[in-house]
């Protein structure tokens, strides 16, 4: 029986949160009242040359300590080393409304705001490029290039063309071909805690940066580049983080600005965003236009899939290379689709950057795939659930592009929600206005290829036990509310079978934590979890060795359980602490180190092969040798299937989602409380994108029209349906205790499930998200 894994475990840092003691970025007060307040001057134009910046008047204002502009730093940074296109401050031109031009450090916020008003900037306006279609076109004048370094034509940031199998041939043997043009408005993370940063450049010439971030390690790297300082003189501290969902997974210009201002003034500088600045910073889901075609035989075999995606990246690259690939390749599961063409373009536009958001790159294409499947099912008279099951992968399969699928519970997921929802008695059988629909999902458990191609583990965890008997776990995996600290504690606790109160997690400080790449791409449970487990196993050995000495019995005869070590034959036992103390004698604190590095990826790519030479013997090779083969490669994939039941009011167009049955194959739910929470949170966020959330821009100026929670509406509590969660445990062969991801994949099925249910209810197919009441009424009217 398991010790802690699989048990509903309240978050190890939860007591701090519910009592108001958790310290978030805005709660940090440095001693001595020396902290300055930083404010950012932002561009009022979407596209303009900066002719002149005059801050002489601002500098003279009483209480102003420093003003920083591009004069202070022009080093480029960005989360992906291949597309560093951001600077701390705009250089020579601004590329979106809100672009950071200058920053002021002053005694208080009021003075800082006054100083911003005194900075005079002379602009030469350029026509903004706001439509992604326009960015595809070649440029006729250098001024039209939004980011001059891009090697592609026009304002294209990244083009991906991929082809597997033979679509043309496949179409010939197909009896049904469905296609559609889909469009998806941008959506944003809407975490409740605005970003903030405090930077303190000390007299010891060391820099400490506290930031509300998901990726302390990437921030650490970016600061080193921008500040031209060695990494060992920089310390990044992650306080409690009030949600992220991908929105805090880039290094940001405001973090650089605080560091620069602190160095200039020799004082700590704090920059805290207002809510509209959070919207301006965005990095949300890319607005996307997707053309998709899918074919099948009359026997229900999926034969081909073609995707053409135009992805609006805004002014910066962010994770965009990955986004561009994911819009294609993550559609290659969980169904057997052997013939595939993908053409994806992510383009620059003069808007706030798009980036990674929960379900990164997969959500929009998934919506299109799953709704086309329903159309195919209708044409060939198949039940949509059965058609999906027929085409679903089995465990230990390989996709058309070389993804290695190990554990695979997709069929079980579909069967589960089909039965639980009473599908057979409801689908196509409910009165007009009521409908039921299904959707599925497929997602990575961390990226097998790290962002920085270095011979370095993706996760390392240190475990220390000293005389007090406490188990200290050091990691840099970022707890952002998803329960990453808790899952690490569980992985360690499960190995050491000790009381959970012994375990304390230190995951906030780059000085003490071994490197972990951070909380993005659903990687923490799998990768950091394995590293933690391995570290604990090493310490367990030391403890058992000591117990063996005390009890004069070989290790094989000893059992570690519930804080005690028992000799199985004599049934005599000693306490955890006795064994620990014996182990400490003559050696000092016990240490265990564990790491995770994904197994060999692409035998075809020599560089990666070289990097992974040693690991490849352990794990099965995976991945193809084509260009971009590493994108979307993961040591394991999660799957899911949801059924949604809803009612459409044909008069008002309002959709009332009544119930969702949600099955997600997470391998093994290490903490069912957190897994349920992730699934329910995903449904909330997915329903928002499906029905109401939209990041709206002015078509002429590029200004965000709804940068607040009054106008950017999320699903309120009163609109949340009842949800039955089914955690399907397929037992991943490589994940920690069989686990894989549960944080992002669970958003995928809900959007198409809603669309398919709306079709079942009122017979309309909407291809533009969000599916607002206006669109629903007009589609119903058109149908009549």
């Amino acid at each position: 029986m398991s010790h802690t894994v699989g048990k509903k475990t309240p978050l190890v840092d939860g007591a701090q949160k519910v009592t108001g003691r958790a310290v978030y970025i805005d709660d940090i007060v440095l001693p001595g009242k020396v902290m300055l307040i930083g404010k950012i001057l932002r561009s009022p134009f979407a596209h303009a040359k900066i002719k002149k910046i005059d801050y002489s008047k601002a500098k003279k204002l009483k209480g102003v300590y420093a003003i920083a502009t591009a004069e202070d730093s022009d080093n480029r940074f960005g989360v992906l080393p291949i597309t560093k296109d951001e600077t701390a401050f705009a250089i020579d031109k601004v590329t979106f409304i809100g672009d950071q031009i200058a920053a002021v450090a002053a005694t208080d916020e009021e003075t800082a705001i006054k100083a911003l008003d005194l900075i005079q900037v002379e602009y030469e306006e350029l026509p903004p490029i706001l439509k992604p279609e326009k960015s595809l076109a070649p440029i006729s004048h250098p001024d039209q290039k939004i980011q001059p370094w891009s090697k592609y034509e026009g304002n294209i940031f990244k083009t991906v063309n991929q082809s597997f199998g033979n679509v043309e041939k496949a179409l010939k043997k197909s009896s049904v071909v469905k296609n559609g043009k889909f469009s998806f408005n941008g959506v944003t993370h809407a975490f409740t805690e605005p970003m903030g940063v405090i930077a303190s450049y000390g007299s010891d010439k060391k820099l400490t940066v506290w930031s509300s971030t998901q990726v302390p390690h990437y921030l650490h790297r970016a600061l080193a580049e921008v500040m031209e300082m060695p990494m060992h003189r920089i310390k990044v501290i992650r306080p409690y983080v009030g949600g992220g969902f991908g929105g805090k997974s880039d290094p940001f210009p405001h973090e650089m600005a605080a560091a620069i201002l602190s160095k200039k003034t020799g004082k700590p500088v704090k920059i805290l965003f207002d809510r509209d600045e959070v919207f301006i910073s965005n990095h949300g889901r890319h607005p996307t236009k997707t053309e998709m075609q899918m074919s099948a035989t009359k026997d229900g075999e999926f034969t081909s899939l073609e995707i053409d995606a135009l992805i609006d990246g805004g002014a910066w690259g962010s994770f965009g290379v990955i986004t561009t690939y994911y819009n294609g390749v993550l559609s290659l599961g969980p169904y057997k689709i052997k013939n595939f063409n993908y053409n994806g373009n992510r383009v620059y536009t003069n808007k706030p950057a798009s980036g990674a958001m929960r379900g990164h790159g997969a959500v929009n294409s998934r919506f299109a795939v799953e709704t086309l499947i329903d159309e195919i099912a209708e044409d060939i008279d198949f039940d949509p659930c059965d058609l999906r099951i027929q085409n679903a992968y089995e465990p230990n399969s390989t996709t058309a592009n070389g993804f290695r699928i190990t554990s695979c519970g997709i069929k079980e997921c579909i069967e589960k929600v089909k039965i639980a929802s009473g599908w057979d008695k409801k689908f196509k059988q409910m009165p007009y206005g009521k409908g039921i629909g299904i959707g599925c999902g497929f997602y990575i458990s961390g990226s097998a290829l790290p962002i920085n191609w270095e011979r370095m583990p993706q996760s390392t965890v240190h475990v220390k036990i000293d005389f007090d008997g406490g188990v200290t776990v050091h990691s840099l995996a970022a707890e952002i509310g998803q329960g990453s600290d808790t899952v690490l504690a569980q992985c360690v606790g499960e190995v050491l079978k000790c009381d959970m109160s012994r375990i304390r997690i230190y995951s906030k400080n780059t000085d003490t934590a071994p490197i972990d790449l951070g909380s993005y791409s659903s990687r923490v449970t799998f990768m950091a979890g394995l590293a933690a487990k391995r570290a604990a196993e090493k310490i367990k050995k030391q403890i058992l060795n000591a117990a063996s000495k005390i009890m004069a019995s070989p290790i094989e005869n000893l059992e570690l359980k519930n804080d005690r070590i028992t000799e199985l034959k004599t049934k005599s036992s000693i306490s955890f602490n006795e064994a620990v103390r014996e182990a400490l004698h003559d050696s000092g604190a016990l240490h265990g180190k564990g790491h995770y590095q994904a197994p060999n990826l692409n035998p075809g790519l020599p560089r990666v092969d070289e990097l992974r030479g040693k690991e490849s013997e352990k794990g099965a090779p995976m991945g193809g040798s084509h260009k971009g083969a590493a994108a979307g490669l993961s040591p394991s994939y999660s799957m899911g299937a949801y059924v949604c039941q809803l009612e459409v009011d044909a008069e008002t167009g309002l959709v009332n989602v009544e119930k969702v049955w949600a099955a997600h194959d997470c391998g093994k739910a290490l903490n069912p409380l957190a897994v349920e929470g992730q699934i329910e949170g995903c449904i909330h966020m997915g329903l928002g994108q499906a029905l109401m959330e939209s990041f709206d821009y002015n078509r002429n100026t590029g200004r965000i029209e709804n940068p607040n929670f009054l106008d950017y509406r999320c699903i309120p509590p009163t609109m949340m349906p009842d949800v039955d969660v089914f955690m399907i445990e397929s037992g991943d062969p490589e994940g920690p205790f069989g686990a894989k991801e549960a944080g992002e994949g669970p958003i995928l099925p809900i959007l198409p499930a809603v669309a398919n249910a709306i079709y079942d209810a009122v017979g309309i197919r909407l291809r533009n998200l969000p599916m607002t009441p206006e669109k629903i009424i007009s589609a119903i009217a058109k149908k009549k």
Partner: protein, 171 residues
Amino acid sequence: MTLIPFPSKKISKKIVEFNINNEIVELAIRPNDLLLDVIRYKLNLTGTKRGCDMGTCGCCTVIIDDKPVLSCLTLAMQVQDKKIKTIESLQENENMHPIQECFHTEGGSQCGFCTPGFIMTSFALLKENKNPTKEEIKEAISGNMCRCTGYIKIVDSIKKASEKIRGKKSE
């Protein structure tokens, strides 16, 4: 902190006296000071959170005379002689308040940033309605925003807390 622009250069302060967490405080307040800023930055009660500055997220909810109030939409000048309760005052002995405990054990708190606001709203609700239905709970918390939980476990937490509080009373 968002400042409300104030025309005159010299802003005259006024002494405002109120009860916060059973302690009487006297503070020199400017007419444009928000209660939220006073609580957070003058009194260092940082459990009350600032999420939007315009009354849309509910993270700054405190109790004023038994009613949940958005402290970011309340001028500090308005609280003369009033009784304010923040998240810091809920726990009165070695144990958490039942609402805090249930938010913790039932998964009602993930990132935790909205949690103090939700707990204060729940506190006011359960004072007024000892046994609220799911629908009543949803209605009561509709001024608070949570992006992590989808509200399901928050509703569960409040339901469970109401049972706990009622159970305690009948004991």
